[in-house]
C-alpha cells in the first residue's frame, strides 16, 4: 500500500498555507486602527495551523484509498464534462433541452439502459420546468423552446 495520497495532500496544503500566510501580509495596514488586531490576525493563525497539520500529514501519512482505475477515471471525466456542459449551456439551449441531455447521459453512464434513461430524463426535466415556471413562478431559462 502506498501513502503517496496523503503526502501529496500535505505538500499542497503546505504550499497553500505559505501562500495564504504571505497573502495576508500584503494588505495595507488599515488606517487609524490599533495594531493589536488587524485583518491579518486570523488568517495568520489559520496559516500557522494549516502549516503544522500539513507537515504532520507528510510525515505520518495514512495508507492510500483505492484510486479509480483507468475505466472509472474515464467515467469520472465524462461525468465532470457533462456537469460543466450542463452549467455552461443551460442559458443557451434552455433548461429542458440541457437537462434532458445531461440527465440521460448521466443515467446511461451510471448503468441505466439508454431508452429508459432518456424517458426518465425527459419526464423529470419537463415536470420540473412546469412546476418551477408555472406553480412556483421561479422562471428557468426556456432557451430554444422559447414561445413568444
Amino acid at each position: 500500500m502506498t501513502k503517496i495520497g496523503d503526502r501529496l495532500l500535505g505538500l499542497s496544503l503546505l504550499v497553500l498555507a505559505l501562500a495564504y500566510g504571505w497573502g495576508s501580509q500584503q494588505w495595507p495596514a488599515p488606517f487609524g486602527t490599533l495594531e493589536t488586531v488587524g485583518p491579518d490576525t486570523f488568517p495568520m493563525l489559520l496559516a500557522f495551523a494549516l502549516g503544522i497539520t500539513s507537515l504532520y500529514l507528510m510525515f505520518k501519512p495514512d495508507p492510500d484509498n483505492e484510486w479509480p482505475n483507468k475505466r472509472a477515471f474515464f467515467e469520472l471525466a465524462i461525468g465532470v464534462v457533462v456537469l460543466f456542459a450542463y452549467a455552461g449551456f443551460i442559458e443557451i439551449l434552455g433548461f429542458i433541452a440541457t437537462s434532458i441531455l445531461a440527465l440521460s447521459l448521466l443515467s446511461w453512464r451510471m448503468g441505466a439502459a439508454p431508452k429508459p434513461a432518456l424517458l426518465v430524463a425527459a419526464i423529470c426535466s419537463i415536470g420540473v420546468y412546469l412546476i418551477f415556471n408555472n406553480l412556483l413562478s421561479l422562471p428557468l431559462p426556456s432557451g430554444i423552446f422559447e414561445v413568444n
Partner: protein, 510 residues
C-alpha cells in the same frame, strides 16, 4: 412555566396553515430521503435549502420545512434497513441487525410498525428533552464572553469528527480549510478586501449554500459514477400487519431506555445519532442478556436503536439552537439555512427570535404525530419507492441541485463553482478528509474571527485571555479530549461494530 407559554406561542406559529402544509411536505419528503439508499439526510436537507431560499419562504416556515425533513429522514432510514438490509442512512445501521432477520421470517410489516412506534417514542422523548434543556442551556450561554465562545467553537471543531472518527488531523485540516474559505471577501471590521484577487464575484465572499450543495450532491454523484454500486437488491415483501396491543406495551421499557440514551448522545458534542442508536442497541442487549434473541429478529433489537436515533436527532438540535454550534452534518446544514435567513443562532435567538425557535420545537412535536400516522398506514408508498434505482435517482437529485442554485442567483458562474466544489469534495472523500468540518468552518468562520478579535481587543493583544477563565479552560479540555479520544475509543468501537456485523452476515449464510 415560562417555557409552557413560549411553547403555546410556538404552537400558534406551527399551526398556521402555510406552516402545517410545509411541515407535511417536509415530513413526507424527509421520510423518502431517509428511505432511499444513497441519499442521506444531510444531502437531502442540503438540496432543499436553495429551494426554500429562492421561494422566499418566511424564516419560520423555511425552518419548519427543513426540520420536518430532518425528523422524517430519521424515520425513513429504517425502511431500507429492514427490507433491504441496507441502511438508508448511517444511524439506521443498527436497525439492520434485528430488522432484516425479522423481515426474513415473514414479519416485515410488524418490524416496520414496531420501528415506527419506537421512532415515535424516541422522537417524542427527544423533543420533550429539547424543550426542557434548551432554554436552560441558552440562559447559561448568555454568560459566555468572546474568549469562551472562541473556545466553544474550537471544541465544536475538535469533537466534530466524533469519537468514531478516523484521523483527527484530517478533521482539523478540513476545519481550517473551511475557515480559510470564510475569510475570502471583505473583512467585516476593517473593510479590507481579502483573497479576492480583484474578482468582483468574490467581494461578498463565497456563498456557502452553493458550496454545501456541491460538496454533498455533486460529490455523491461522482462517487457513484466511480463505483456503480447499484447491485441487485433483494427486497422483502411486506405482508399483512398483525401486531397485538400486548406486544406494543412490552416494548415500552425498551423504547424509554433507548430514547433516554439517544437523547444524551445527541446533546453531547461529537456523538450524534449514529452513536445514539449504537449505545441504545448495545445497552438493550446487556439488559436483556440471554433471554433475548438479538441478531435473529428480536423486536427489542429494532425498538432500541430506532428510539435511540430519533431521540438523538432531537437532542442534536439542543447545541445547534442554543449555542449555534451543530454537532452533526445535518444540523450543520440546518445552521446554514438559519444563517442565510439572517437569524443569528445562539442564546440570543431564544429571546430575539423566540417565534422561530419555539415554532420549530412545536413543529417537531406535531411532526412526530404526523410521521407516525404517515409511517403506519402509508408505508406501502415508501416501500414502492425503495425500488427506484440509484442511477435514476442521483441524476435527478443533481438536476434539483442545479435548479435550486440557479434560482437563487440566475448565474451560470455559480453553477460551475458548485461543480468545482463537488470535484474538490470527491478528492477530499477519496483522501478521507471529512466534508462536514469544511462546511462548519465556512459557516462559523465569521463568528470565530469576530470573537477572537473581540477577545484580543479586550485583553489588549494578550492571547492568554483565550484560556483565562475556568469555563474556557474546561472547554479547551473538552477539545483536547475530543481530538485524542478517537485514538483510544475509535478503533475499539469500530472493532465491535465489525464483529456485530460479521456475526449477522454469518447468520445469513447459514
Amino acid at each position: 412555566m415560562e417555557t409552557l407559554g413560549f411553547l403555546m406561542d410556538g404552537f400558534a406559529v406551527a399551526l398556521a396553515p402555510q406552516n402545517i402544509l410545509f411541515a407535511l411536505i417536509g415530513a413526507f419528503v424527509g421520510t423518502l430521503i431517509g428511505a432511499l439508499p444513497g441519499l442521506g439526510p444531510a444531502n437531502g436537507v442540503a438540496i432543499l435549502i436553495p429551494l426554500a431560499f429562492s421561494l422566499a419562504l418566511p424564516a419560520d416556515t423555511a425552518m419548519i420545512l427543513l426540520t420536518s425533513v430532518y425528523a422524517g429522514a430519521m424515520y425513513g432510514g429504517r425502511i431500507s434497513s429492514i427490507l433491504l438490509n441496507i441502511p438508508g442512512d448511517e444511524p439506521a445501521m443498527m436497525t439492520c441487525l434485528d430488522g432484516y432477520p425479522m423481515a426474513q421470517k415473514g414479519k416485515a410489516a410488524e418490524a416496520l410498525a414496531i420501528s415506527a412506534l419506537a421512532s415515535f417514542g424516541g422522537g417524542l422523548m427527544g423533543t420533550v428533552g429539547l424543550i426542557l434543556l434548551a432554554p436552560m442551556l441558552a440562559k447559561f450561554a448568555l454568560s459566555f464572553g468572546p474568549a469562551e465562545y472562541f473556545a466553544l467553537f474550537m471544541m465544536a471543531f475538535a469533537t466534530l469528527g466524533g469519537i468514531t472518527g478516523k484521523n483527527p488531523v484530517k478533521t482539523m485540516v478540513a476545519a481550517i480549510l473551511g475557515l480559510m474559505i470564510s475569510t475570502v471577501g471583505m473583512d467585516m471590521s476593517t473593510g479590507v478586501q481579502r483573497y479576492t484577487f480583484g474578482v468582483l464575484k468574490l467581494f461578498e465572499g463565497i456563498d456557502f449554500i452553493l458550496a454545501i450543495v456541491g460538496l454533498f450532491a455533486i460529490t455523491e454523484l461522482l462517487l457513484f459514477v466511480e463505483h456503480h454500486m447499484d447491485g441487485l437488491r433483494q427486497q422483502i415483501k411486506v405482508g399483512k400487519l398483525s401486531l397485538k396491543w400486548k406486544e406494543i406495551v412490552a416494548l415500552i421499557p425498551t423504547t424509554l431506555r433507548g430514547g433516554f440514551l439517544g437523547f444524551i448522545a445527541g446533546v453531547l458534542p461529537g456523538a450524534g445519532a449514529s452513536l445514539g442508536s449504537f449505545i441504545a442497541y448495545t445497552l438493550e442487549k446487556q439488559v436483556i442478556g440471554k433471554k433475548g434473541h438479538f441478531g435473529e429478529g428480536d423486536a427489542r433489537g429494532i425498538a432500541a436503536p430506532e428510539a435511540g436515533n430519533n431521540a438523538a436527532s432531537s437532542g442534536a438540535l439542543v447545541p445547534m439552537l442554543t449555542l449555534g454550534v451543530p454537532g452533526s452534518g445535518t444540523t450543520a446544514v440546518l445552521l446554514a439555512m438559519l444563517i442565510s435567513l439572517n437569524v443569528t443562532p445562539g442564546p440570543l435567538m431564544f429571546t430575539q427570535n423566540a417565534d422561530i425557535v419555539w415554532g420549530i420545537i412545536a413543529a417537531l412535536l406535531l411532526g412526530n404525530f404526523v410521521l407516525l400516522i404517515m409511517n403506519i398506514p402509508m408505508i406501502g408508498i415508501f416501500v414502492k419507492l425503495l425500488s427506484v434505482p440509484t442511477h435514476f435517482l442521483l441524476p435527478v437529485v443533481t438536476m434539483v441541485a442545479f435548479v435550486g442554485i440557479y434560482s437563487i442567483s440566475h448565474s451560470t458562474f455559480d453553477l460551475k463553482f458548485m461543480v468545482v466544489f463537488g470535484i474538490a469534495g470527491y478528492i477530499f472523500r477519496k483522501l478521507e478528509v471529512p466534508i462536514v468540518p469544511i462546511i462548519l468552518g465556512m459557516l462559523l468562520g465569521p463568528e470565530v474571527e469576530k470573537n477572537l478579535s473581540h477577545a484580543l481587543v479586550i485583553s489588549d493583544g494578550s492571547w492568554a485571555i483565550l484560556w483565562g477563565s475556568p469555563l474556557a479552560i474546561s472547554l479547551w479540555a473538552f477539545s483536547i479530549a475530543g481530538l485524542s479520544l478517537p485514538y483510544v475509543i475509535g478503533p475499539l468501537m469500530r472493532m465491535r461494530m465489525q464483529r456485530v456485523k460479521s456475526k449477522t452476515t454469518e447468520a445469513d449464510n447459514d
